[in-house]
């Protein structure tokens, strides 16, 4: 039997029995949809994170008090008594600045406060900075200027705080007030600058107001003021790991029994990306399971078809079809269902992915890879599902099959 005639035979049964074709391919369609959607969402999450953090700040190293499970630093040493978190101060900054390969060093103090502007209040993040080091933030000033070391009651705000948080927009020159509600204290600031949208370095972010450490010290009114973290920029981003190790060594001399963590940002990013890759494949796995369930459905429907067509298969064999030809016909049947089902599934999957992307605001990336994977897996699984029924058909005894009515 020629291949084109085989296709015609298979198409005839699709046309004659649309219900069967739809019913059996429904499972495949849903399976392929879920594979494509899951892969696209996974890929989108991965790509989103990678894009947001990947290009930026690969040269950044963070130094934080306390130990961080699973990462480098003295915290990894076996120890009998829990260590105190290290207190990071100007001394640490000096030590770090003397490590070879270290560029800018940003000691940061983070807290929250209530920001009041023309009668409106909102809670925001307050970042205490040492202005002379922050060439990076100076570059992303949209209006006004960034802080300088001599500033005291002056502040710079992120773009969203300036534009979206209050009825009136905050502009350089405006007066704002910060409340520390627990302590019942407040301080007035003059805004001198607004940062650009979306251009903050990794350690900065939206919803933030920047002030100098001097102002922060008075706002918090602490007995001994120390930093929440120190951000360090390596001069050469390919050497961040070595620079971090040297910093770790030098710092360990002044923090003998205190816990602190030196960690290149890339380590963070890498482990995050690793998790996202795992999530992506876990999602694809869920999709594949639904596809396999769909394939079992196909197998069942095909078994029913073979049983219904027992007599027809008997006739085919009686008038000269070989077992091989019968098997090929029914495998082709499954393969075509798989192909059509997968194509429909891919179409709907791409559509649904985009809808999810725009409705749920999740980054979604439909890649050729996920489409190819959906198609390949769809056709493959369906064909495998067809093997058993096709063999059943091929092995039918023609005499017995002819007697079936």
């Amino acid at each position: 039997m020629r291949l084109d005639d085989m296709f015609e035979y298979v198409l005839l049964s699709f046309r004659a029995d649309r219900g069967r074709a739809l019913m059996s391919s429904l499972g495949i369609i849903i399976g392929v949809i879920s594979i494509v959607v899951m892969l696209s969402v996974g890929e989108g999450l991965y790509g989103g994170v990678n894009e947001r953090f990947g290009d930026l700040d690969m040269d950044l190293i963070t130094v934080r008090p306390g130990s961080d499970m699973g990462h480098g630093g003295p915290g990894d040493r076996p120890r009998s008594t829990p260590e105190e978190p290290a207190e990071l101060s100007e001394k640490d900054v000096k030590i770090i600045e003397n490590v070879g390969g270290v560029g800018d060093v940003y000691p940061l103090k983070v807290t929250n406060a209530l920001l009041s502007f023309r009668g409106d209040n909102t809670t925001i993040r307050v970042l205490g900075v040492a202005p002379e080091n922050h060439a990076d933030l100076e570059e992303v000033v949209d209006r006004g200027r960034f802080l300088v070391d001599s500033d005291y009651k002056t502040a710079v705000v992120s773009h969203d705080v300036a534009d979206n948080f209050f009825r009136m927009k905050i502009s350089p020159g405006n007066k704002i007030r910060l409340y520390r509600t627990e302590e019942g204290r407040h301080m007035d600031f003059k805004v001198v600058g607004v940062l650009e949208e979306d251009e903050d370095p990794t350690y900065a972010s939206e919803n933030t107001i920047y002030i100098t450490h001097r102002a922060m010290e008075d706002l918090l009114d602490l007995e001994d003021y120390h930093y929440s973290m120190i951000m360090v920029r390596a001069k050469d981003s390919s050497r961040v790991e070595t620079v971090a190790e040297e910093m770790n060594e030098d710092l360990s001399r002044i923090h003998r029994d205190e816990a602190y963590t030196v960690e290149p940002l890339t380590t963070r990013l890498e482990s995050m990306l690793e998790i996202l890759v795992m999530i992506k494949y876990a999602l694809a796995g869920i999709g594949s399971i639904s596809l396999i369930v769909g394939a079992i459905g196909i197998s069942n429907v095909m078994m029913l078809t073979v049983r219904e067509r027992t007599q027809e298969i008997g006739v085919m064999k009686a008038i000269g079809a070989t077992a091989w030809e019968v098997r090929t016909l029914y495998l082709l049947d499954a393969g075509m269902l798989g192909l059509v089902g997968s194509l429909v599934g891919i179409l709907l999957g791409v559509l649904i992915s985009n809808v999810i992307g725009s409705v749920a605001m999740i980054p979604v990336a439909v890649t050729g890879q996920s489409i190819a994977f959906g198609l390949l897996f769809g056709v493959l699984i369906t064909s495998i599902a067809g093997v058993y029924p096709a063999n059943k058909a091929a092995k039918l005894d023609p005499i017995e099959a002819l007697q079936a009515e």
Binding site: M1, D5, I319
Partner: protein, 225 residues
């Protein structure tokens, strides 16, 4: 050369542990252009013999030669080729495929053989015209009467120009009028030179046969009996 040579054919079915002998040593020659009627009481093994002749089943022992070729040594695939190219089956229950048109049913043996679309459609039309059904090409066999269905089945049996036509009670389900029509077609085919073996219970249908072979309990006798 005989179209069919059967020598000491035996067929024994296994039912559970029991051996059930059905054909008990049959020898039979069928010459070209013969029209043989096979008669005998129900259960004597006529259909079993026809199935073996038609290469749907294998002998337990003995030899069956079709056009001089021993079919005993052939593989399943080779037997299928013989069924396709050298055998034309006509069954009591027609065995047409309902979801195909009459034309496609007649095409089917040629489709299996790989005959080109144009050629097989032309031949299928001719064959259906020969049996008087050229106005029912695109009908499903399900919409035909029993006699018409059997005529489609005969057209299908002729598709690949077989060496022999095997008809197992072709008129068994038909009324007298349809039986006459079918017998007229078979007689015509025989007159054109086709070799036909037909199982029948109806002695009247044998009037145009060149020979009647009687079977009883797995053995053959003569026309004499």
């Amino acid at each position: 050369m005989s179209v069919v040579e059967i020598i000491d054919l035996e067929k024994t079915y296994k039912v559970g542990d029991m051996d059930v002998p059905v054909l008990k040593g049959i020898s039979l020659w069928i010459e070209p252009a013969e029209f043989v009627a096979l008669m005998g009481p129900s259960g004597c093994g006529k259909s079993t013999l026809m199935n073996i002749l038609g290469c749907l089943d294998r002998p337990s022992s003995g030899r069956v030669l079709l056009k001089g070729r021993d079919v005993g040594d052939l593989s399943d695939g080779e037997l299928a080729r013989i069924r396709r190219d050298d055998i034309g089956f006509v069954f009591q229950s027609y065995n047409l495929i309902g979801r195909m048109s009459n034309l496609m049913n007649v095409e089917l043996p040629m489709t299996l053989k790989g005959v080109s679309r144009d050629q097989r459609k032309r031949r299928a039309r001719e064959l259906l015209a020969e049996v008087g059904l050229d106005h029912r090409l695109d009908y499903s066999p399900l919409n035909l009467s029993g006699g018409e269905r059997q005529r489609v089945a005969i057209a299908r049996a002729l598709a690949n120009d077989p060496a022999i036509i095997l008809a197992d009670e072709p008129t068994g389900n038909l009324d007298t009028k349809s039986t006459k029509e079918i017998m007229k077609i078979l007689r015509g085919l025989n007159e054109e030179g086709r070799t036909i073996v037909m199982v029948t219970h109806d002695i009247e249908t044998t009037e145009n046969c060149s020979r009647v072979v009687w079977m009883r309990d797995g053995r053959v006798g003569d026309d004499a009996s």
